[in-house]
Symmetry: C2
Subunit: 745 residues, 2 copies
């Protein structure tokens, strides 16, 4: 009776709260802001180009233990840090390299101070919700609030009476690029541009400007520019009394260019006052930034923008409705879903214009041009989730990738704001596009896509996407003597991409290609050393690389064979040939023992992509399927929490969150480009997936979950799970109701 | 007979050449490019905003002994230097502080090299004419030619076959300001802006952009941007393989901002080819720079622009026609006249727009907005010469000064591109405006001008033009304890300004002001120490400053009493009270002895303004007038030559040249705001001044000169000179013919 009682109580509490709380209310943007999750609690609209993030990673290492210049730090905000130097208006979420984090505003009071080390402040009473952030700046007794529409960051600063300032710092930034222009247009408007780029310290030549127009709700009593020149060291310095010193250019209304510049608006308030600052962003031009600002926000108040953005978030999040769990579980679930809706983000302006990739031209789209494709991460589960929950967006993403091919001659690898950053390895765009098509989202030019895939799969001469391709084609693997970093990882990635191409070829009736790429897709076996039982680095001559240490490469240490992982973390990264891998390992038992050992010996890394499919592999071992549910449940409990450290590590533009969303819903797409789900124990009693009726006939899928004990007592409805632990994507899509029952092992 | 014969021969040669040569052909722009004359041989139209100067002052001190960063150097070109790093498109002439010297183009061949220390070249076969410059760049076998219209620099580069480049370097510059933006608009157009300012290391806060649009006659085969970032010294540097290295951004078409950036156009020529580069300049906006380029030059060829500019120069120079001297004398004369037509220069765009001073607004003029007012220099003789030869321009200059008063609340002191640089001392605008009015050019708002003068003459509280004014008003002089540099110089300057105001007051019937300012104008006497016979620095208490060294301050050394001079060089700088000075010195004999000593002992400095009136002071000593002609003739011969070192020193925006033009014509305006000329022996047999018939009734004034010997033998026409050595300005203007005869002493 105790159980029933508790259960009833939980239900009552849940019912009471849910009557008031919509999915959007369960978002906790602080999740992932510690433990290198690299998310930020800033205000952002779904897939927004602009966002307003607190910026607390610069200087004062005594207050900011994770300081941007003292280590590799990829986020504008860290939960543990305490010293805030403003609010950045273009930001990335869950990425592993620093970029953006610029166009930084800061409200201050008293005399003008433009050095962030001096004007920075601790803060308190932080609040973050979907589309909203606020904090009190202790030093100034200023309440700073932020919201955002897609292309406009909106802030509201509540100042006390007296002299107040709003700084717009264009020197400070998370990016390591420098260079800006700023121009005070009027006492209510500032325009400018700021250089960003060299993401992951790659392709610095492609560094590019982001444009902005900032509108202030109250005309400044005084305004100006500051510029800190570099210290001049020539003979002339003896006459330059201003050498290296910050200059204040009061009332200056021409353009100012430089590496360390900013603008300020100053007010003298008789009584406490609010000032709203709206900053429109564009990657095309100042004109477009201004149009984005005017058309998207215009005269809307802070509250009105927030209400619109909150509603947009709720609409996004309510595609999945969950019931019957704790508040924390709902929070980590909806926050994960929220985190999947930040990147890829919108690149095109309100008028459809966007910078083309590599051409230098301005393109124009009728739909949406997406950017920030961290495809090495996202091909594994993220785009599968988008195909299910947001099919229109997933199609627009595929179309964006194809537009890049049109513009650039190549599909993207790790694209950011129309620059190819060449980050990570493999050829993931082929996987994503094939998977999308094979899941039934076919409304794109698949022949062009296929042609694009073949280009990167076959060009062995001048191929920016697949270095080492000739060795791979000739030998079946990339050798350690190829000059390509992580040859084992690269070989596995090429296998996965080739498998995806093969599946698409088959679907398109291209039998010969299907054969060719199917053959190529299993060449990973050549790297399997049956003596050690690992996939190991090998010379192109066929000789194994020595010494071999299966632990080398953990924790992102550089090593000879693997990218961001070690031999344990890559051993099972063969999602397209799990049975084949099992076979060369000597059968299911050997496979299972090894898989057990990964977890038992602590080799499993929940924080990176190569092994995130591992817990689902138990479903491929007859009789041990229960371990999948057990392991997934354990991993969720261990790594995902309703707290800043509530992500296992870098969110990887939503890939870790997508893993969680799938896992909590009770199913997972193990094999890219193979539209099959495998089941696990869901985290909720009921999950309702509301399908997009423009793409799917079935209105919704309801997944019910009961433990076998409960079921045997009360519910005799048929259970699906136990039949074979897998379901075809189409069958899944067409199911009205799926009842999952946990069985005891 | 020998004399007659020689004389005849000279006449024949002269006549023969003059049939072919117009005044414009006598301009040698190399005069003043050595000996710190600070002129440049670049191509410029009369009073042009744009010019194209060879730039040879950067780096390679082995080839460039006068290197810009190794000393105080104020010019983009030095004749002795050998290492050319391009052609700068905004330049100053004859100023004492570095500024501008930016927007530097450079033609090169072979592989792209963007480091000026590496791409620079020696050059040969230099040619310079009014509106034209050319040289061969030895390293590249490229002929570079330049011409200019008012707001557009036009270059023609003759390339050999093969790979060629045109660099547009926005990092390099004579100014010590940094910061630029550049944007390749198309394969034939680049636009951008470049920060300039902090002239004389003053008012660095006001540094401002100059805008440009560059058009290329042939589309580039390839183009791009380079950027050299500063060396990053943080922890991140370990990952930044590009740290501090120049990046080439091939085909980049977005804006790039930074301190060290540039753009390039690259060609691959099958055969030798010419490329014309036209660069429109504006101080208002990119749009105006483009309009200036289009409307002023458009499709005109290099030759057509040069022909127009040459004709404009000839029209300017032929206001004076001289006869009967050597070619060299004609060259130094017309080059001097040419040098008076560079500054003040035109600031307004083709559409009349210009940046207002201090307001940050864009103004619009129906006439011409002039800039570069080095008034401490030019009030002494330059504007007097302009009133005589170019009355319309002089009136527009006065109107420009009054517009500055409207905009800024103050008349200019040393204005440059609508920034007040606060260079030098005194209150010279009042002198210039009064002088102009009193010479009969009254078509301006004299009441406003008078009000403006009174403001700077009377405001003892917050007065940027006249520091130390309260002490001056209270005590009659600025004390050494005032904190004002050069208190003796400052007192003398205020006296001169007050005298000018008094004269204008009298002319306007303001008797009371006339009395007040007349009283103030002679207070210099309080600084006359009858024991030493010098005007000396004094404490406000009345005590003399000790130690006193009349030589301290020569050669621009810093000293307690004087600005750019010593006690000898300021002793006679009382142009408005020469008789009064004579009296306190104990009479004419004592005055003359002292004046003699200045010259005999080598205290005279022909290279700076305070003592440039000295040789004319002999005309004030009865019986010693002959010394004026002798001394002036000697000084001309000694300091002015048809050679790069042919100016005594810095041209001071044409003041030294104006001294020469007057002196060679045989008369000089000793006392500012007192419209009287004093005579000297002219350098020509005949001078014809063609007066502007819109302002003057008399069509022309002919000055004939013969020595007394010649006259007594052959010419009995009445001689004017001997009557009293002075002539009223109006009488002068109305003279049809003035015959000057040298008398033997």
């Amino acid at each position: 009776m105790k159980n029933v009682y508790l259960s009833l109580l939980a239900f009552l509490i849940f019912g009471f709260i849910s009557a008031q709380q919509a999915p959007v209310d369960y978002v906790n943007p602080f999740i992932g802001t510690s433990n290198y999750g690299a998310t930020n609690p800033g205000a952002i609209a779904p897939r927004g180009m602009a966002s307003v993030s607190p910026f607390n990673v610069a200087g004062r290492i005594d207050l900011n233990p994770l300081e941007k210049d003292s280590q590799w730090l990829s986020n504008p905000y860290v939960y543990e840090n305490k010293f805030l130097t403003g609010f950045s208006h273009v930001n990335m979420s869950g990425v592993g390299c620093p970029d953006l984090g610029v166009i930084i505003t800061m409200p201050t009071t008293g005399e003008l101070e433009t050095d962030h080390l001096k004007y920075g402040s601790t803060y308190s009473e932080e609040t973050a919700k979907a589309g909203y952030y606020s904090a009190n700046l202790d030093k100034y007794k200023v309440r700073a609030e932020a919201t955002a529409s897609t292309r406009v960051g909106v802030s509201r600063y509540s100042f006390p009476a007296g002299k107040s300032n709003i700084l717009l710092n264009l020197g400070l930034g998370l990016t390591n690029e420098q260079g800006a222009m700023v121009h005070v247009v009027s006492p209510t408007e500032i325009e400018g541009m700021r250089t960003v780029g060299s993401f992951c310290y790659n392709n610095a030549e492609a560094a590019y400007p982001v444009y902005f127009v900032a509108n202030f709700s109250k005309p400044a009593d005084e305004f100006g520019i500051w510029k800190t020149p570099y210290n001049y060291e020539g003979e002339e310095a003896q006459w330059m009394t201003y050498n290296g010193k910050t200059r204040i250019k009061e009332g200056f209304t021409r353009e100012v260019m430089g590496d360390s510049i900013g603008a300020y608006m100053t007010y003298d308030f008789n009584e406490p006052q609010e000032v709203e600052v709206k900053i429109g962003i564009s990657y095309v031009s100042l004109e477009n930034a201004r149009e984005n600002l005017d058309k998207e926000v215009g005269d809307l108040s802070f509250e009105e923008v927030y209400e619109q953005t909150k509603e947009a978030w709720n609409k996004k999040l309510k595609v999945v409705e969950v019931e019957g769990v704790s508040e924390d579980d709902k929070t980590i679930f909806y926050t994960a879903l929220y985190h999947t809706q930040i990147h890829p983000n919108i690149l095109n302006d309100f008028n459809g214009e966007y910078p083309e990739i590599a051409t230098g031209k301005t393109g124009k789209t009728e739909g949406t041009r997406y950017t920030t494709f961290s495809l090495w991460d996202t091909y594994r589960n993220y785009h599968q989730l988008m195909s299910l929950l947001y099919p229109q967006e997933q199609l627009e993403m595929v179309k964006s990738m194809l537009a890049m091919y049109d513009e650039n001659g190549w599909l993207p690898k790790w694209e950011l704001n129309s620059t190819e950053t060449f980050t990570m390895v493999g050829d993931p765009a082929a996987v994503v596009i094939s998977d999308t098509y094979l899941r039934g989202l076919t409304d794109f030019d698949v022949e062009k896509a296929y042609k694009a895939m073949l280009k990167s799969a076959l060009d062995t001469v001048s191929n920016p996407l697949r270095p080492g391709l000739k060795q791979y084609v000739d030998n079946g693997y990339v050798g350690v003597d190829s000059g390509v970093p992580g040859p084992v990882s690269t070989t596995l990635e090429y296998n996965i991409a080739d498998y995806a191409i093969a599946q698409l070829a088959k679907s398109l009736g291209k039998e010969k290609d299907y054969k060719t790429f199917s053959d190529r897709a299993f060449s990973y076996k050549k790297l399997y050393n049956s003596e050690t039982g690992f996939l190991q680095p090998k010379y192109s001559s066929g000789k194994w690389y020595q010494p071999f240490d299966p632990l080398a490469g953990a924790n992102f240490e550089k090593n000879v064979g693997y990218i961001e992982g070690n031999a344990w973390q890559y051993l099972f990264m063969v999602p397209h040939d799990i049975k084949g891998l099992m076979k060369i390992m000597g059968g299911a038992e050997s496979f299972e023992n090894k898989l057990d050992k990964v977890f038992e010996a602590g080799h499993y890394d929940m924080a990176n992509e190569p092994d995130i499919l591992y817990p689902y592999l138990y479903n491929y071992i007859e009789g041990s399927e229960y371990k999948t549910s057990a392991k997934v449940t354990e991993l969720i409990k261990k790594y995902y929490k309703n707290s800043p450290a509530g992500l296992p590590g870098n969110d990887d533009t939503g890939t870790m969150s997508a893993w969680l969303v799938y896992s909590m819903m009770g199913f997972y797409p193990v094999t890219p480009a193979e539209p099959i789900y495998t089941f696990t124990k869901p985290a909720f009693e009921q999950i309702k997936i509301n399908l997009n009726d423009q793409y799917y006939d079935n209105e919704s899928i309801i997944i019910n979950y009961r433990s076998s004990e409960e079921t045997s007592n009360s519910d005799k409805s048929p259970a699906f799970l136990l039949k074979d632990f897998f379901i075809n994507h189409n069958d899944f899509l067409n199911s009205k109701k799926i009842n999952l029952i946990t069985v005891d092992n």
